[in-house]
Amino acid sequence: MEVAFILEKLILVVIVFVITLVIAMYSTLAERKVAGFMQDRYGPNRAGIGGILQPLCDGGKFFFKEEIIPAGAHKVLFVLGPVLAIVTACISSAIIPWGQSLNINGREISLQVADVNIGVLYIFGVIALGVYGIMLGGWASNNKFSLLGAIRAASQSISYEIAMGLALISLLMVTGTLQLGDIVRQQSGFVNWNIWVQPLGFLIFMTCAFAECNRVPFDLPECETELVGGYHTEYSSMKLGLYMFSEYINMFVSSALMASLYFGGYNFPFMDQLDLSQNWITIIGVIVFFLKIFGFIFFFMWVRWTLPRFRYDQLMHLGWKILIPLAITNIVLTGVITLIKDSYLQ
């Protein structure tokens, strides 16, 4: 381990962290703007030009709110809940390849914090940890509504993690590697994107991503229009803010995941035909990757302001009786097609 390597990774980590937080922050504004436009109104436009300072105002307001820890709450776990939620939301961005490598003074700098060889498994580990933030928060607040909300959230996450994992297995059968960097590298150009070979897998993965992020139509844990408030009923001040923030970070990270797993990550059409240096290709790649991410974030919001919420039994029905069998069918289909391709179409 040389010092330069550590320094380089540290800078990258800080940049990724800042970008994640800023994008999550402005997603809150974007969400309200999108909601406004879709309902034929403007959305917030008073704070700054076009409402550009609105997230800062919201954040500032959260800081000045009274901090309430309910009597009978388990203090340590009560504080740990939102912390865990936001930490797990943030650390999954570590293995996402943001771009190819930059060449500065003959030194290759990879734009991926850690290209671990168990990348996809790491994602699953982190996603599974995310449930703890919600579960602990709900349980520690000593309130039956919070506990009920947390149980709803936990059972939803666990149910949809299975289908998500199964959908990814068929993707892994195609790519043959768990390393996220390799998965993206394989999808260079346009025709190699995994969406063309795994459309059904993508549909299942995306549905599950919606459920894992607790977004409409799967926002039953929060359910702000009909419940008391879900698992964060007892939370106030910035602790509530952290829960909300972690939802937006989750949305950003899962958009990045969907873009890199199925939509080619930083790859864009005709990237090999362009007569540009490696650095320029990388920079354009990063921009393209972020455009894809923003596209997915917009889709998240678009769906939120279109679809109504599922009923709880419908949610379970979709997860267990439709998505899981579909994902298994997809695995079998992928296996059969791969076998046929390998043995007869060489």
């Binding site: 999108v34 034929d40 403007y42």
Partner: protein, 172 residues
């Protein structure tokens, strides 16, 4: 049952076919509708900067008028107060002193003239009752206040500002 009009329609609920049960076409349709609204022009009026135009005969806040020489028209006869169905108007009359002829048109004037905007129903009977054409409901609507007593408008708020009649004619 026999239909009295021939507009009756019997609706048959068929079980959904596989395409409908997938819900994906329906979701796509819904998404296209919301996307269409995303690009639609919206009709919001940005209130403080932009005001919805009042109709020509809108009855808003009262104003006490002045004559061509800038003198108050009101002679404190009390007909407006008498005609007011909501009893929103009160006034205290006073006699015009010598040397005040440039201020008040008649020999009697209203020293205090108050309208309670919380009582007022903006019916316009005061302006119909006025023999001196001194009161008109030609202002904008009454704005919000923090306390009730601020809704009692005195002469400071009601009286029309002085204007130069010659310049007014020039503008037209």
């Amino acid at each position: 049952m026999q239909s009295l009009t021939n507009r009756k329609k019997v609706i048959e609920q068929k079980p959904m076919n596989i395409w409908e049960r997938m819900y994906l076409p329906a979701i796509a349709k819904g998404l296209s509708i919301t996307l269409r609204h995303f690009f639609k022009k919206n009709n919001t009026i940005q209130y403080p900067e932009e005001v919805r135009p009042y109709s020509k005969n809108f009855r808003g806040r009262h104003s006490l008028k002045r004559d061509e020489q800038g003198r108050e028209r009101c002679t404190a006869c009390g007909l407006c107060a008498l005609s007011c169905p909501a009893e929103a108007i009160t006034m205290v009359a006073a006699e015009r002193k010598k040397g005040e002829e440039h201020l008040y048109r008649e020999e009697k004037y209203a020293a205090v003239y108050e309208i309670n905007m919380l009582r007022c129903i903006f019916c316009g009977l005061c302006e119909e009752a006025c023999p001196k054409e001194a009161i008109y409901l030609d202002g904008p609507h009454v704005t919000a206040e923090y306390v009730r007593k601020d809704f009692i408008y005195g002469k400071d708020k009601l009286l029309e500002p002085r204007f130069d009649i010659t310049k007014l004619n020039e503008k037209e």
